[in-house]
């Protein structure tokens, strides 16, 4: 997994609420057996018209809005557990998603792929969305060590559990950790009461 420490970037506003993972990447693009290239189909049905021409009114097709930070409406990533949604956002170039609320499974998937989900209060999100929409050149800075997100004169600290923070900063993932606990897992299996097995 890629390390994440700090990032300064312009941001892309997507104010829609309840953006589900079917919108992030529709199921018909989940047929690959590897992790590559999902960014091409990120927000496919919002990005392209039915004749496959780019939908000019969608934010990713507006050349004014670029950057590695996606600022999204409440309840981002709800619905299907498809990790392809996190892969597609990462592959497209996003490294941070900011919202006032993330769906559980998406949040875990993002963290497992070096994509940092940052939860901010609704009021802060509204202001951030307004600012980056009106001033697309606004630089947003995320500092994971200090757990801060700042832009202009505004700054906020965000929560992340210490385990996830350590993993992101060092580029560790859960598999390494779990495999290191093998003996403890085997002992657990041996000591379980028979009725619980």
């Amino acid at each position: 997994m890629d390390k994440f420490i700090t990032l300064s970037s312009k941001a892309v506003p997507l104010p829609n609420q309840n953006v589900d993972t079917d919108q992030i990447i529709p199921a018909r693009f989940l047929k690959a057996t590897d992790r590559l290239g999902f960014g091409d189909n990120l927000f496919r049905d919002w990005r392209y018209n039915s004749d496959q021409s780019p939908n000019k009114s969608f934010v990713l097709n507006n050349p004014n809005y670029t950057g590695k930070i996606l600022v999204a409406g409440e309840n981002f990533g709800c619905g299907s557990s498809r990790e392809h949604a996190a892969w597609a956002l990462f592959d497209y170039g996003f490294r941070v998603v900011v919202s006032s609320f993330f769906a559980d499974i998406f949040k875990g998937n993002a963290l497992n792929n070096g994509l940092l989900p940052i939860t901010v209060p609704e009021v802060f999100l509204k202001k951030l969305l307004q600012t980056v929409t009106s001033y697309p050149d606004t630089l947003v800075t995320v500092n994971l060590l200090e757990q801060t997100l700042s832009y202009g004169n505004d700054s906020i600290t965000f929560d992340i559990n210490p385990y996830n923070k350590t993993c992101l900063i060092n580029g560790y993932d859960d598999i390494d950790f779990l495999v290191s606990k093998k003996n403890e897992i085997i002992a657990f299996e041996k000591n379980r009461p028979a009725v619980e097995k």
Binding site: Q23, S81, R82, D174, I175, F177, F188
Partner: protein, 460 residues
Amino acid sequence: MGKSLFEKVWDAHVVHTIENGPQILYIDKHLIHEVTSPQAFSEIEKRNLPLFRANQIVATADHNVPTENQHLPIKEALSRKQVETLTENCDKFGVTLYGLGHPYQGIVHVIGPELGITQPGMTIVCGDSHTSTHGAFGTIAFGIGTSQVAQVFASQCLLLDKPKKMRITVSGKLKNGVQPKDVILYIIAKLGTNSGTGYFVEFAGEVFENMSMEGRMTVCNMSIEMGARGGMIAPDETTFEYVKGREFAPKGEELAAKIAYWKTLKTDTDTIFDKEYQFDGADIAPMITYGTNPGMGIKITEKIPNLQDESFDKALAYMGLKKDTSLLGLLVNYVFIGSCTNSRIEDFRVAAAFIKGRKKADNVNALIVPGSQQIAKRIKEEGIQDIFEAAGFEIRQAGCSACLGMNEDKIPAGEYCVSTSNRNFEGRQGPGARTFLASPLVAAITAIEGKIVDVQQYMN
């Protein structure tokens, strides 16, 4: 303070707790399918890791399979490759696979319970959010991402923060014509699509106590649609009766010992939940959704609400509907009865009981997709298939079908579909498709009428 059903099962599976961090949770059963497993197999191969407990994994092909001519090679190259990759991986790693053509093949959340793989008190995961279905057995069951599939492959464990606990009690009795699907659509409409995020939900009260296992599965299946990781119902005699005698269920003395343990899994009376909601079963009526998330639901006779909100307007524009109007009388050209929510034998019995002696409306394409090969067989044996065929319904082979717009079964752009599945997201059933979620009974009535009607008029 007492412990809840959820805490009892969770605590029995904790291997290790990291200070100020997540816990290592042991996973009893890992269900896999063709779409979310290939990258996980690649991951452990890349790291040169073996499968830690191959015998606790069961695989099937369901999401990306055709529902016609399953004996022939899959036409579409990418889908064929994905299904073949699952077979190759299962062969290579020694995983039990119920692939296409196997008598046990079917939707992963249908075959687990059907085969007795799903049992009370277990932890079950699968790379699919509707794994919550198995919670009907008093099981901690939830969907995971592909990185987590690889973690379970490598260690039979996951690193997780313990969710908070919520209880939703529905007391009283349900009215005639009100189905388990209506109960869960009602709850989600009342509480919203993110009300359960961060929680594991226990469904309690008379309504669930009186519900069949299949009904309970429908309810728990959709707990993810309110954002909850999973839903659970305390195991009782109904549960034990269902589990008994199934292929992989415990037998004899082992079963007796297990049932004695399963009986201890009820929530203690002095348990305090982080959040509690209460509803009266008598207030629930046949439901239907009108928007693009499962929380946008109304009683079928109610009007679409008049909300001032950009996302709400966008949803109605997608659906081609107007605020403050009724859905009654709206022409519907597609009806889909299937998916991990409603493709079990009771769902088809309910639909067939209504359809018997009637014909589908000319404008309607009605698709019946059983959740498993075993259900397909039972539909035939019970004469239900004849009823559907006589009414002009099309019966397919087992799979996820038109629930998710991935395989060949899709609803055309702009068309309305009354569907017994679980998600009405934009494009979920195919690009531009417009989904109304409802119960199998509402779906059956819509197919006969060719339009949305008040179900209650048939109930006397």
